[in-house]
């Protein structure tokens, strides 16, 4: 059967399971689904299916299982590691129609939502009740809760409030054979193994999420932002360790280096000191009494670490403006250069100075500029390599530099991905971080849920053969589309 015949055959069969208009097969209809936020990888699925009910998801997965057809689930497609890249021989299961908040229980502090609900929409709905959903990835205006569960998304406030895994109570999923099962509990734990932890961050490899119950937390009555400038990145890094040593866990603690500061200031006009080598943004939240006490202590620490400038946002507008600069740092840096490539490593915080100075050397060695924004509180580093893809050889140099940075992260005891996921992008680097036996165990875990390997095949865990062929680190070049969406 030719590809076109196969496509027609699949579409016909799927139209018996879901309403006509929810099966897409023409080239122009498929194009928007060719890639996720990592557009360097593109593939066309045979068919896109847009189920609108749980029963339709079950029917489609049963069909896929019976016919051994690969299935890739997709939320808003804002992912940055190619996790929702379609499979050319499979179907793309778009969950955009699952966009309803099913229940918002302010009395008991939870919301039951469909997977296609946007992250920010949950907090928007909860806020009139004095509640919110804590994880706040910078793409929260667009990304969906289903995708957040798949990636175990964090955000600038996760040092204090945790990642998705800490804020989700239960998920209802459909297994590859079409069975519906709810994992997790409305209490603090469930009987048996903690499948909730396993499913969170599993990048669509184990099951398809059709409902998510999230915890809602009371909105902190007061939030204050302290901005501190330093004349070296090292002293800013030391200040981070000293805040923690003081026994203070800020709600957010972000570091930007000079190139990032200049770019963000030019973009957002938020009042960053452009002559500083590094800026720390430290947010403290809680009751009035707590926040006041902590601001004094944090300011003392920053002064002791030779902060060249110290400023507390005077109004809520100013606080939000200072955050806006940080959250738009990436598109801002993007204006300095025709192309940029984002790295997502995590390192033990104590290695920050070492990693930054090594990165500085690498930057000179490769003759490529690097700007850094850094979730300093939890060691998650986002170096941005600035390059021009139209200059011959520059893309390759960027790849090599990115690869060296990731190796550096693993070398100092960190990881190749802190929050963007492995997807297809970092699958080779998994060979560097994990040994064969551990990778094999990952495959066995996958097989426990999906014995034939039909859910998102070829992602997250490399085959041992692939690792053998790979042999050394390699990082693909990537670009972030939709620079208007705040990220990281």
């Amino acid at each position: 059967m030719s590809r076109l015949e196969k496509r027609q055959e699949f579409a016909n069969q799927l139209r018996a399971l879901v309403p006509q208009g929810q099966v897409l097969q023409s080239d122009e209809d498929l194009r928007p689904y060719e890639s996720d936020g990592l557009t360097v990888f593109k593939a066309s699925p045979l068919v896109v299916v847009l189920p609108a009910t749980v029963a339709e998801v079950q029917a489609v997965l049963k069909w896929a299982s019976k016919n051994s057809v690969p299935v890739v689930a997709r939320g808003a497609g804002t992912g940055l590691s190619g996790g929702a890249l379609p499979h050319e021989e499979g179907i793309l299961l778009g969950l955009a129609k699952f966009n309803q908040i099913l229940e918002l229980n302010s009395e008991h502090g939870f919301a039951r939502v469909q997977p296609g609900v946007r992250n920010l929409a949950i907090s928007d709905a909860a806020r009139p009740h004095g509640l919110y959903y804590a994880p706040d990835p910078s793409s929260q205006i667009a990304c969906t809760i289903g995708g957040n569960v798949a990636e175990n998304s964090g955000g600038v406030h996760c040092l204090k409030y945790g990642l998705t895994v800490h804020n989700v109570l239960a998920v209802t999923v459909v297994t590859i054979d079409g069975e519906l099962v709810t994992i997790g509990a409305m209490g603090c734990d469930n009987a048996g193994y903690d499948l909730m932890a396993l499913l969170t961050g599993s990048e669509g490899m184990l099951a398809v999420t059709v409902e998510v119950t999230v915890k809602l937390l009371p909105v902190p009555p007061v939030a204050k932002l302290v901005m501190a400038a330093f004349d070296s990145v090292e002293s800013a890094g030391d200040a981070v360790g000293k805040v923690i040593a003081e026994g203070i866990i800020p709600a957010g603690l972000e570091l930007m280096d000079s190139p990032a500061i200049k770019a963000a200031e030019a973009f957002a006009h938020c009042g960053y000191p452009t002559d500083a080598a590094a800026v720390l943004l430290c947010e403290l939240d809680g009751t009035q009494a707590e926040v006041e006490a902590q601001i004094g202590r944090v300011s003392d620490v920053f002064n002791a670490c030779a902060a060249t400038q110290l400023h507390t946002a005077q109004t809520e507008e100013e606080r939000l403006l200072l955050w806006k600069g940080r959250k738009s740092a990436f598109p801002a840096v993007g204006r300095l250069s025709p192309d940029y490539y984002c790295i997502d490593g995590t390192i033990p915080r104590r290695e920050l100075s070492k990693v930054l100075s090594r990165m500085d050397e690498l930057s000179k060695e490769f003759n490529l500029r690097i700007a850094n924004v850094f979730h300093a509180g939890d060691g998650n580093l986002h170096p941005l390599i600035l390059y021009d893809a139209s200059v011959e050889g520059e893309t390759e140099r960027t790849e090599q530099l990115g690869s060296q940075i990731l190796q550096l992260c693993v070398e100092v005891g960190g990881t190749v991905t802190g929050e963007h996921g492995v997807g297809v992008e970092k699958i080779n680097e998994m060979c560097v971080q994990f040994d064969e036996a551990t990778l094999q165990q990952f495959h066995s875990v996958k097989a426990a849920f999906d014995p034939v390997g039909l859910l998102n095949p070829g992602k997250v865990v490399p085959t041992l053969q692939r690792c053998a062929e790979f042999g050394a680190l390699h990082v693909h070049h990537g670009q972030v589309p939709h620079p208007d969406i705040e990220r990281f």
Binding site: E107, G109, G130, L131, G154, C158, L159, G162, V165, H166, L180, V181, A185, M186, G187, C188, D189, A191, G192, Y193, D194, L195, A197, L198, G201, S202, P218, V219, I244, A245, G247, I248, I249, G286, T287, Q288, A289, E290, A293, Q294, T346, P348, D378, G379, N380, G413, G414, T415, G418, E419, V422, K426, M430, F434, D435, T438, F442, V445, A448, F449
Partner: protein
Amino acid sequence: MTNDASNELLGSVREHVVNEQPMHIVGGNSKAFLGCKLSDVDDAATVSLNNHVGVVNYEPTELVFTARSGTLLSDVVQTLKQSGQQLPFEPPQLPGATLGGTLACGLSGPARPYGGAARDHTLGVRVINGKGELLRFGGEVMKNVAGYDVSRVQVGAYGTLGLLLEVSLKVLPLPETTLTLAFEQNEHDTTPMVQLARRFLPVTAAALIGRTRYIRLAGSDAGVQAAAKELGGERVVDNEPWQGLRDLNHEFFNDPRPTWRISCADYTPALTIPNDEDGQPAKVLYDWGGAQRWIKTSLASHALFEIAANANAHATRFSTAMNNEPSHQPISGVSARLQRELRTSFDPLRLFNRSRFHPELDS
């Protein structure tokens, strides 16, 4: 004391795997009262972690602590305290308890609903699986999404997904000030605790014992004092009952009948528990703001499982009595199938702690 017995342990497990001999994994044996003994595993070998001890890595400013599984929990707590830090999940400090056993049993204390569970603070593990392979998952960093989150799944798995060799945990600063308030209220009514959870206050524990509701506040001194003023109530001088609830030696536990734990939504109404055969009523204590209920009763296991199931909850027996009956709420349906397959993927021969956790996953 510090000693790395990884190689000996790996050798020992491999030998038992070759011989298909079941193994009991034992740390300090302080939690021998947990789990059941259903199948005939008398020929099981004991693999002891007592000799695999010591802190591997601890930098207070990193908020990360890594130690070998046989390390005494009391040593861990002491080491952290010297740097002004703590295990945020407040695990029971039973005499002789080890770090590995604490994580394997997934036990968290009164702080659980407010500060997170043992699994929430687990960042990485080294384990030996049931095929005799040494594996490493997660790491020593706060954010890590490389591969499936196997580290957290190991927590509370009773060693049935692998023998824990080493764990890395997120730790947090000790609070500047801690104080406990007491309030009189109606018995069995968790509503005031549920309402409190919707307010932004530095609450780190809430329990209802008889007619007294206890609320613990902890954090910066200014914040705690302000919250205490706002809440009112009577200040408890000795800061109890938290240590007794944490270590399961509060006077409530003196009742000689078996102890049961029911984990449910905090807003679940009072459960109806029939009297014992001799007419004695059950006793109930509410911890975790109502989400963890301790029960003293002589009822049969299946009766407790039924009560829990009807409340969308699950029950666990914390007692050696009746240990020829299941101790953990039986799992069924699709979830059981997935969990059985997961167990198979780590320990295909069911060699680790066979039948101790959920025997229905081992048959």
